[in-house]
């Protein structure tokens, strides 16, 4: 999200010039967002039981039906076991040794506007490069030739700090267009009919261990509703920050694109460097009606832990989009560079006829990171199409796994899928794995899957070196070339930052 920087803070200035690269290198190639904000916090007691679930619900001032929903999820969670099939290895998580709710004391009374928000919180986001003031426009795209100078690009942000949403920008302007963009806690109160109608319909309460846990204890997150025929006037984004120690973040995002609407949604996340691992279990549900389109882009940059694997975020995320209407379209783009352990499979249910799902992913794992990520494309409707482009890069002692499912149901006549997953290995201590599941149950469906694994080409490196490019930069250049297909699918704000991240994450991996 650093590309959303307003350009005034030092250390987060982004660009693609060599100077910046050098500046970043001076920090030792280390995680840039590892600082923490010293702020008075209010915690729920450690551990998880029905009382904690009740407490979270009451802190959010929720109606009875929401509490019941949570308790039901909690009871189901108790009966579930943690999945062990992913190619990741981490010490057993003590779910009782976590805080499930933490909010800055100043947020006890919800500020009415951003002006009332604790300056410390605003400073935190400013330092991260997230503009929470509406007059600020995006850095990095200013003066770009293809942008009309009269109408600078705006991005509305919902900022989530530990368990609460700090504020949402541009709400008024969005309201004029009929778009609802607010925190999910607000939506439960203000738009219960929409939440009731859609929550848990894409990712059911008992979908999987972590989604069930999330359903019980989610504290906040974002809610988006785009009414029929509306093209959302600006990009929407949520920025998640974990700050408190020993605290899990469980956010819930619900996006509804009604008939013929369009929205592009960005998500970013960071956390301080801590020796203890922290848990993050989010659920994102997207509902796409007839002729609507949703673009969901993530740059996941949680703290990955140090080079010995100490600390870092355990990122267990369930993301799913349901193309309910005909010709609905969804596009997931993700750049996964952070987290100690990633377990994440953004999926598409292609229910409507002629609906389309796309998944573009770059997963970079360095040092002791482990990533098990991919997608599911479930073709139910006729003439549905999906495309998967996944690029995995492993360096250091990291393990990177692509795991995916392409399923063609008997009724998915003339459905098409193309999958390409490539892996790049940098160094001989790491691993790259591919675990695709392909299920074709009708003969008019066409499925093509290809995957390759290779190392950074010596000849390409030599070519760059010969022209005076340093070795690390040369690797970054080759890797950027390898990732190009995915980077091009990102919104511009992200593409630049992602390119930068690709370089930073590989820092120190050469030699």
């Amino acid at each position: 999200m650093a590309a959303l920087d307003n350009g005034t803070e030092t250390g987060v200035k982004e660009g693609v010039d060599q100077e910046t690269v050098n500046a970043v290198r001076e920090v030792g190639g280390a995680y840039k967002y590892g600082w923490s904000t010293d702020i008075e916090m209010e915690y729920a007691p450690k551990g998880l039981n029905e009382d904690i679930v009740r407490l979270i619900s009451s802190k959010n001032d929720e109606p009875e039906w929401m509490l019941e929903w949570r308790l039901e999820a909690y009871r189901r969670w108790l009966a579930k076991t943690e999945p062990a099939w992913a190619m990741v290895d981490y010490p057993e998580i003590d779910f009782q040794d976590q805080y499930y709710y933490a909010r800055p004391k100043s947020m006890a009374v919800k500020p009415k506007s951003l002006d009332e928000v604790d300056p410390k919180l605003l400073a935190t986001y400013a330092k991260l490069g997230i503009p929470l003031k509406e007059q600020m426009i995006l850095a990095g795209v200013e003066g770009a030739e293809d942008i009309d100078a009269e109408a600078p690009r705006k991005v509305a942000v919902d900022a989530v700090f530990d368990s609460v949403s700090v504020g949402t920008t541009f709400q008024d302007e969005l309201k004029k267009a009929g778009v609802i963009f607010c925190s999910i806690s607000e939506a439960i109160k203000e738009h219960p009919e929409l939440v009731k109608k859609y929550l848990g319909t894409v990712v059911p309460v008992s979908d999987n261990y972590y989604a069930t846990l999330n359903s019980a204890v989610f504290s906040d997150g974002s809610f988006v509703y785009i009414p029929p025929g509306v093209r959302c006037p600006m990009e929407l984004s949520t920025y998640f920050r974990i700050n408190a120690e020993n605290t899990g973040q469980f956010e819930r995002t619900l996006i509804i694109a009604d008939k013929g609407s369009y929205v592009s949604y960005l998500e970013g996340c960071t956390a301080p460097m801590r020796d203890e691992s922290q848990l993050h279990a989010a659920v994102v549900e997207i509902i796409i009606e007839e002729d609507a389109e949703v673009k969901y882009s993530t740059v996941q940059n949680w703290y990955p832990g140090d080079e010995n694997g100490k600390g870092g975020i355990y990122n267990f995320v369930t993301k799913r989009a349901d193309c309910r209407g005909d010709r609905a379209k969804v596009m997931w783009t993700q750049v996964e560079t952070g987290s100690a352990v990633t377990w994440k499979y953004p999926s598409c249910i292609l229910r409507g006829n002629e609906s389309q799902g796309e998944f573009y992913s770059i997963a970079i794992a360095n040092n002791m990171q482990q990533a098990d990520t991919g997608t599911k494309m479930i073709h139910l409707g006729k003439d549905t199409k999906s495309r998967i482009v996944s690029k995995g890069i492993s360096a250091g002692k990291a393990q990177n796994t692509y795991r995916g499912l392409v399923s063609m149901h008997p009724k998915a006549k003339d459905a098409r899928n193309f999958t390409q997953c490539d892996s790049l290995l940098i160094g001989d201590q790491c691993g790259a794995h591919t675990v695709p599941y392909i299920e074709v149950k009708n003969n008019s469906a066409r499925v093509e899957h290809e995957a390759t694994t290779s190392k950074v080409d010596d000849e390409q490196l030599f070519y760059c070196r010969q022209r005076g490019i340093g070795e690390e930069d040369a690797v970054a250049l080759v890797v950027n070339g390898f990732c190009k297909e995915v980077l091009q699918a990102l919104p511009m704000e992200f593409a630049m930052e992602a390119q930068q991240l690709v370089a930073i994450s590989l820092e120190g991996s050469v030699g």
């Binding site: 001989d428 790491c430 691993g431 790259a432 003969n443 066409r446 093509e448 899957h449 694994t453």
Partner: protein, 426 residues
């Protein structure tokens, strides 16, 4: 993790129907295998490795009946010069078999080899045991423990003709367990042919040790009896500069699970596993391949093609594991299915697991119907639709058949494929 009670019960129920042969030298290996089997239990439909194939009928205490196919056609490989070894419903038939002497090779039977010090002791159950990690293969352990017969082939030179294992099926309820061991000495070369349905239910295991510079060729045609069931395993260990090539034709059979586990342990070794499967109606065919690269500069190829119609199911689970240090590995894997109608299905899990950086590994998997444009092209040139479909189907299968090194064998297989298609065209 402790085994589920239901799994223990199912395993014991099956074991109660079996008697362990007491053959002297193999007893210790059999008892070890039985312990292994008890610790893992027989497969159940909830096991991840059996996600796409229900093991029930392969595991149940007695074999489901399978009618014997009566046909006038000449059995495959009949026209070739070969040494025949015949098993009828899993029982060795001395009358139908040739004399087991051949230059460059010694052939003994598992059931007859009672000498206490036997060369096969170092291999019997050993390669199977190696192949149990990281994925369990309980049916192979069961085979090692309870195999009633099989051949022990020690190849010391280059025999002048192939050795043909023929499995005849004459009883509707036969349940056969055979275990073969092959040791191919340094620089030696042998071709093994296998054909026939074997039994109503057939569990076969073949362990092959290919020494440095040795070559192993294998072509198999599984019998066409529609209701037969088979679970087969190949475990191979490859030395430096050795070569392993195996091709399997499967036409019909209500249940087939062919597992192939290969470990490339010497540098510059080569392994190819290929298969063509033709299924019509109540047909379930599963190719499960696991290739481990544990040496430098080795090459492996997996080429599998399946043609499916009338609700037939094809499964492919293939894995290339490149261990750390197995640099310069070249791994290739392709699995494709041609679905000739709306009811058939193809389920695939083509996996890569790679821990070395200087490797080139690729896999591809596709599934779809006959290419309408190609069909139109042929029809516009006057080829009737049935023949045109067959031509395209054969060309689809050709990539797998081409993996057979000997052209006469490849031709023989192609003829069988064409005949199968022609019979269905009516």
């Amino acid at each position: 993790m402790a085994l589920a009670q239901v799994k223990i019960e199912a395993t014991e129920e099956r074991l109660n129907t079996l008697d362990m042969p007491q053959e002297g030298w193999s007893t210790a290996a059999r008892e070890d295998a039985l312990m292994r089997l008890r610790s893992m239990g027989l497969p159940s439909r909830r096991d991840e490795y059996w996600k796409y194939t229900r093991p029930d009928t392969l595991v149940q205490p007695t074999a489901p009946d399978a009618a014997v196919l009566h046909t006038d056609e000449v059995p495959v490989f009949d026209a070739l010069g070969r040494l025949k070894i015949v098993f009828v419903d899993g029982v060795f038939s001395a009358d139908e078999s040739d004399d087991l002497t051949l230059e460059g090779v010694t052939i003994e039977r598992l059931a007859g080899a009672t000498a206490d010090i036997h060369w096969a002791k170092g291999l019997y159950g050993v390669l199977e045991n190696n192949g149990q990690n990281p994925v369990e293969r309980p049916l192979a352990a069961l085979n090692t423990a309870y195999a009633t017969d099989g051949v022990l082939i020690h190849v010391t030179g280059t025999p002048s003709k192939p050795i043909n294992l023929i499995y005849r099926h004459i009883s509707n309820s036969s349940d056969a367990i055979l275990h073969h061991v092959l040791k191919i000495d340094k620089g030696a070369e042998v071709t093994i042919l296998e054909n026939g349905p074997a039994a109503a239910r057939f569990n076969k295991c073949m362990e092959i040790d290919v020494a440095d510079g040795a070559k192993f060729h294998h072509v198999r045609a599984q019998g066409r009896d529609h209701e037969r069931r088979a679970a087969t395993h190949i475990f191979a260990r490859l030395g430096t500069e050795s070569s392993f090539k195996s091709f399997t034709l499967t036409a019909n059979g209500v249940m087939t699970r062919n597992e192939c586990v290969i470990e490339l342990t010497g540098d510059d070794a080569h392994a190819t596993v290929a298969g063509a499967a033709l299924g019509d109606g109540d047909f379930h065919h599963d190719d499960t391949v696991f290739i481990t690269h544990d040496a430098v500069n080795c090459e492996s190829r997996q080429v599998f093609k399946k043609v499916l119609r009338n609700g037939a199911t094809g499964v492919f689970q293939g894995k290339i594991l490149v261990k750390s240090g197995a640099q310069k590995t070249d791994g290739y894997q392709i699995s494709q299915s041609l679905l000739l109608d709306e009811d058939s299905q193809f389920l695939a899990k083509p996996e890569l697991e790679i821990y070395a950086d200087d490797v080139a590994c690729s896999h591809g998997s596709t599934s779809g119907a006959i290419d309408e444009e190609a069909l139109f092209y042929l029809r516009s040139r006057g080829v009737p639709v049935g023949e045109a479909t067959d031509m395209l189907t054969l060309s689809f299968l050709a990539e797998a058949v081409e993996e057979i090194e000997h052209s006469t064998l490849a031709e023989e297989i192609n003829e069988r494929l064409a005949a199968w298609l022609a019979r269905r065209r009516g």
